[in-house]
Amino acid sequence: MLDDVAIKVRQNVGIVTVVLLFSILYVLYNLAHPKGFSSAVLVQNGNEIFALAMVAMAQTVPVLASGLDLSVGAVMTMVGCFASYLLTGAVGGTPLHLDIFGLHLALGTFPGGINGILLGIVLCLAIGTTAGFINGCIVVYGRIQPIIATLATGAVYIGIALFLRPTPGGKIDEDLNWALTNSLGDFAATVHIFDDGAAGWFAPVAWVPVPFVLLALIALLVWVPFRRSVLGRAVYAVGSAEGAAYMSGLPIDRAKIAAFTLAGFFAGCGGLFLAIQTSSGNADIPQAGAYTLNSIASVVIGGTSLLGGTGSAIGSIFGAMVLRVISFFFRIFDIAPLLQPLFEGLILLAAVSIGALGVLRVKNTLELFR
């Protein structure tokens, strides 16, 4: 049994490293922070981490199948813009209309109230998932390299976002914003459960920030089952050795489509939260690009190989958190924000250097190019 543990640790050295790195950085941060180790700090950090963590998870799945998805930030932004129309929660509903080619088309009224909000959330996630599915189909059936296919679709998704929100705006239901961006106690109080969060048994967990709970739920209910499904296994197999996967009779095409579809779903979750958190939709192109690039950095810091086959979305969550914690440090130590890219770059370099050590063991130098 001890052997097994040793093997598991050795195989997951990337994740173990990033979890340790994050823990150290985060404890240091809290020690340095005047209000460190308080629920308020945790809640704020959770809100800042969530969207990037989701986009990092999104990026992980195609990378595991040795593809890169350059549209994750765009999907996030597009879903956020949709959310700013669908999650207003306005009593009596929201009238929707389409202004195109000088025409004014009324699309009817989107329902308001709690039912409307739930329907809106489902729709937003469905839009993200569909965007990912389209990416997958283009890669598999169009036989286009993922990096260029998603560069193109990403531009399309940004275009749709700009069409929806030429200028930042829209509105998100205030209760929804409050419930999801604070602690569990605030959530219970807002949706009136557990005696408005005052139940005795609930007290010990009432301080936990909702974003972290959502992150854990999505990881446990979506990622873990996927990883243990035959399709998830096939994604790893395709990234590891596509030829061998084919020869073993695995559904290669379905695995690739599933990888991009899941990426769309995760990116959609990120966009949804970002809209809820900021109470608006914003087709921010630089922001979409930054999220895409940071997602790749998070994946690498989280111990996933860009060649595919090894790694995990859980590692990427921690990779995203490491990136964010670095920026927290800049805030409390009052360092010029202009230095931030420098430090992020150095940490990224250090992380990839560890992964590259295996090169030293290669005996046939031709293998380095395969």
Binding site: D3, D4, I7, K8, Q11, P225, R228, S229, V230, R233, Y236, A237, G239, S240, A241, A244, A245, Y246, M247, S248, G249, L250, S305, G309, T310, V362, K363, N364, T365, L366
Partner: protein, 513 residues
């Protein structure tokens, strides 16, 4: 010739199977059958059609003509998984493991045990343990990644993976080539058990003693045709070697000059690498063409790569014209005058999208440059000379090299290296997949280069070619040079016998290593 192919009661029966690859015949009108509860060896030299036969049976490729019957029913497999579903399981030579997945994952990759629709890791692990125990290799931990196992253990995992598919017909294609002798015994025991359970087993091996020990029946293939099938003990090893020899087309080779003693250009002493090369000593004189023979994968390619500086951790001495060299990279090897025409011209020999001229000049840029800049005039003159010298048939030097035929592409690879004026030329199967006419031109060119004083080390899978071109042939087996054949010893019989590392029919006085 007695050709006893019992189609009655056969478990698998092929009739009239033919297959061509891009016009090259791989199999021609093959009839073949095998029975349950028998181990059936398939024999033949390189390119005899064994691999194609197996690939057809295992559903990797589809035959052009012919029918296949399994347990009395007509079948045709569109994919390996369709063959697996029918109980036909093949352990291929090139491993089919996913390096980043665990042993347990790999073994159950196609149909893992599931609970609530998800893969049941515990059951999967138990299954892996049971299957590995069946082969007697409990020491492999199912949690290990395939990547982290040594080659011999990976082969064991491959066998366990095949066992897990509950084969009715099990095909082993050189499946024991990487195993340690202790593991080979375990695999033999497993095969004996499967045989007693009524599984039909097809066994492809280049190790004659294995075939003698295991097989109940053997079929010999040659040039894509089924030659003969016989039961155990009906044929001596010498007979079998004779059956494997024989070729239809004889190529024209340039005459070999009388050998005169030349000073050694390249000398190797006790070259070893990673267990793949085992204390190789060889000397090649200026003006000499030395062949590297033997079956595929006995270390010939590694030897060429070692000389060209591609391999790390090579021990032993390499001397060029008496001076010891340490070629740590292809660039270093080039600087001492070594050239290599590599195994795969499409990935290692050429930059396919680049132009013919660029490809030709790429290895000798320093000679045609002034300072950091390539001298366009010198370049085009050198390119023109190279094209004329090798009579490469091209449209324009600026066309992408991918537009050329295979033979002309190979000429570009060779010409590129000739432009560096090499003293030592290493050739890795340069005539594979090119037409007879171009082959003959290459043979002539090799002789011409040797006459001008180059030392040539020539690996070929075609024995005819080795006999026709080489002054001397070193036969490799299991990483060693087992015999050097020269002059009248240089016959196909001797090459095959040496390649199989058996003593049959050797009429020369060469010592058996």
């Amino acid at each position: 010739m007695p050709d006893a192919v019992p189609t009655q009661g056969a478990f698998l029966a092929l009739s009239g199977i033919s297959k061509r690859y891009a016009g090259v015949r791989a199999l021609e009108g093959v009839d073949f059958a095998c029975e349950r509860g028998k181990i059936h060896a398939v024999l033949g030299e390189n390119g005899a059609g064994k691999s194609t036969l197996i690939k057809i049976i295992a559903g990797v490729v589809q035959p052009d003509t012919g029918t296949m019957r399994l347990a009395g029913n007509d079948v045709s497999f569109a994919s390996p998984s369709a063959a697996n579903a029918a109980g036909v399981v093949c352990i291929f030579q090139e491993l089919s493991l996913m390096p980043d997945l665990s042993v347990a994952d790999n073994i159950s990759i196609a149909s893992p045990p599931r609970r609530f629709g998800l893969i049941d890791a515990r059951a999967q692990r138990r299954r892996a343990e049971e299957l590995l125990a069946e082969i007697g290799c409990e020491d492999v931990n199912p949690l290990m990644r395939a990547r982290d196992l040594p080659l011999s253990r990976r082969q064991i995992v491959e066998i366990a993976k095949a066992l897990g598919k509950k084969p009715q017909l099990l095909i082993l294609d050189e499946a024991t080539s990487a195993l340690t002798s202790a593991d080979v015994e375990k695999v033999y025991a497993m095969l004996a058990r499967l045989k007693s359970e009524g599984v039909a087993i097809l066994y492809i091996s280049h190790r004659m003693h294995e075939v003698e020990a295991l097989a109940d029946r053997a079929s010999v293939f040659r040039n894509g045709r089924h030659i003969e099938t016989f039961d155990k003990g009906m044929r001596s090893t010498g007979d079998i070697v004779q059956l494997m020899i024989g070729r239809d087309i004889a190529a024209q080779y340039p005459p070999k000059p009388a050998r005169k003693a030349a000073k050694p250009m390249l000398a190797l002493e006790n070259l070893s690498w990673e267990g793949r090369l085992d204390r190789i000593s060889l000397s090649i004189g200026a003006g000499e063409i030395v062949g590297l023979g033997g079956l595929d994968g006995q270390g010939q390619k590694s030897l060429l790569l070692a000389l060209f500086g591609v391999l790390r951790g090579v021990s032993g001495r390499i001397t060029v014209e008496g001076r010891e060299v340490h070629a740590g990279s292809p660039a270093a090897a080039k600087s001492v005058g070594i050239a290599l025409v590599p195994e795969d011209r499409k990935t290692e020999g050429l930059m396919l999208p680049m132009s013919i001229a660029d490809n030709l000049a790429i290895a000798s840029l320093s000679a045609i440059s002034t300072g950091p800049f390539v001298d366009r005039a010198k370049e085009s003159a050198a390119v023109k000379r190279a094209i004329a010298r090798l009579q490469i048939k091209i449209g324009a030097p600026n066309d992408p090299v991918s537009t050329l035929s295979g033979g002309n592409q190979q000429k570009v690879v060779l010409a590129k290296w000739l432009m560096t004026d090499p003293r030592i030329i290493l050739l890795n199967d340069p005539t594979r997949g090119i037409d007879v006419g171009t082959k003959q031109e290459l043979y002539r060119l090799m002789r011409e280069l040797a006459d001008q004083g180059a030392a040539i080390l020539f690996y070929s899978t075609d024995y005819d070619e080795l006999i026709g071109c080489c002054d001397r042939v070193a036969i490799m087996y299991d990483g060693r040079i087992v015999r050097e054949l020269e002059g009248s010893e240089l016959t196909e019989t001797n090459i095959i016998a040496s390649a199989l590392n058996i003593d049959a029919a050797v009429n020369g006085g060469a010592a058996h290593a």
